[in-house]
């Protein structure tokens, strides 16, 4: 393949729209041609910059209400009242079930575990979130190990931007990301794999504890949970891995970010 042909197909290559033979032809050309490789990295950087920086304009809740009134009329199904008015950046269908589950959980928690600390209550929710994701095979909304896809996707749906790093080189490949609803707010959930085990990492802004708090561990029903805070975010890792391995994961994640 010559430079002209490579550059004609470079965008399709960056967009992963070429078939296998096309892709490998460009791979080979880029490996041997510095000039084209420089053009490619520039394209890739532009693409990342667009995905990271371009504003995604979600619809304002008032617009949703206006359109409902003008289409389905004054009597929409009761269940269709916009939850999204309260969770404007969330697709409510995705979290509806999670909200319901959390509501039930908090209620039982209130009755049975009145003596537990706030962190222990959240740890219970985190475990429930982990189990829920495994039960329904709903580990990811964006299934990709590409951190540059997962991070902007989450940032668009949430009011904060969680650090997302693929840790495949140290044995914890990123499976993808999704949204969940914990501790009374929408949170980022990252799924990682370690051998045959899945780790869920929940992240949300932490307004309660100032500064970094020592890592805390919780265990129940064969699940282990780690909690730590960093730079205004609280991190909850949960898995059926043993505590030592889960700590390795937390260490790898914290130092890679």
């Amino acid at each position: 393949m010559d430079c002209n042909s490579a550059r004609t197909h470079l965008d399709a290559y960056v967009d992963r729209e070429l078939d296998m033979s096309g892709t490998s032809a460009i791979d080979q050309h880029l490996a041997s041609c510095e000039a084209c490789d420089a053009v490619f990295s520039r394209q890739a950087r532009l693409r990342r910059a667009l995905r990271e920086h371009v504003t995604y304009h979600d619809a304002p809740p008032a617009l949703a209400a206006r359109i409902r009134a003008r289409t389905m009329g004054a009597t929409p199904a009761r269940s269709s009242k916009p939850w999204s008015a309260y969770l404007p950046r969330l697709q409510w269908m995705q979290v509806g079930a999670a909200v319901a589950a959390t509501a039930v959980l908090s209620w039982t928690a209130g009755v049975q575990y009145a003596s537990l600390s706030e962190d222990e209550l959240v740890a219970g929710q985190v475990m429930a979130g982990h189990v829920r994701s495994m039960l329904t095979s709903h580990l990811t909304d964006v299934a990709t190990s590409d951190q540059h896809t997962v991070k902007p996707w989450l940032s668009r749906k949430l009011d904060f931007s969680p650090p997302v790093t693929d840790l495949a080189t140290v044995g914890f490949p990123l499976l993808g990301g999704r949204l969940d609803y914990l501790d009374g707010r929408p949170v980022a959930a990252l799924a990682y794999q370690h051998r045959q085990h899945v780790i869920n990492l929940f992240v949300w802004p932490d307004h309660k504890s100032a500064g970094s708090v020592a890592t805390q561990t919780f265990a129940k029903d064969g699940y282990n949970v780690l909690r730590w805070t960093d730079a205004g975010l609280v991190f909850w890792a949960v898995s059926d891995l043993n505590t030592a391995e889960l700590k390795d994961f937390a260490q790898a994640y914290a130092s890679a970010k």
């Binding site: 967009d15 729209e17 304002p60």
Partner: protein
């Protein structure tokens, strides 16, 4: 279809794709009020033609309606000079330089993107792109559509999707370089 199941079908579509519809309209009109008008009109059309939709890709169907609604709206409002074209001549002169300037250009753009106002600069760069280039970038990078889906929404052949995206990215890079040179 009775009214209830019709409304349920619409509600599913509506909840799932309202944000995407609004985002596309907002980037096409470059104005919040006009975007809301376009989105509202588009959903009224979608509601009207709901029975006719049998495909499996509701998002593509809906975004195509949003886009068509925008162009209808635009032709009605053209006299207000809402579309601001780029200086095409200037751009094509710089075109061949930019595509082969390799390292130099990539360093400068990279530096630019590390600036504090990267977000503002890159939003501005996208905003000044002509409609036909802006829309393919939004569909690709914000809505994450495949070339095939973009072709269906924009009603253009697959090859045109590819060449428009390539051209759009070149224009974006050029704009960012101009900004840097002026800074």
């Amino acid at each position: 279809m009775d009214e209830r199941s019709r409304n349920e079908k619409f509600e599913r579509l509506f909840v799932a794709h309202l944000d995407a519809a609004h985002d596309l309209a907002r980037w096409l009109t470059r104005d919040e009020r006009n975007a809301e008008d376009v989105v509202q009109e588009a959903f009224l059309r979608a509601y009207k033609f709901l029975d006719g939709f049998r495909g499996d890709n509701a998002r593509v169907w809906l975004l195509a309606i949003v886009r068509n609604t925008y162009y209808t709206w635009l032709s009605k409002n053209r006299m207000h000079g809402l579309a601001v074209p780029l200086d095409e001549e200037n751009m094509s002169a710089a075109d061949s330089d930019a595509s082969y300037a390799g390292n130099e250009a990539s360093y400068s753009v990279d530096a630019l993107l590390h600036q504090k106002d990267a977000k503002r600069l890159i939003n501005q760069a996208l905003e000044q792109l002509p409609d036909e280039f802006r829309e393919v970038i939004v569909l690709r990078e914000l809505e994450d559509l495949s070339y095939k889906e973009i072709a269906a929404v924009a009603e253009i052949p697959l090859g045109t999707v590819m060449s428009r995206l390539a051209r759009a990215r070149k224009l974006l890079l050029q704009h960012l370089q101009h900004v840097r040179q002026e800074a």
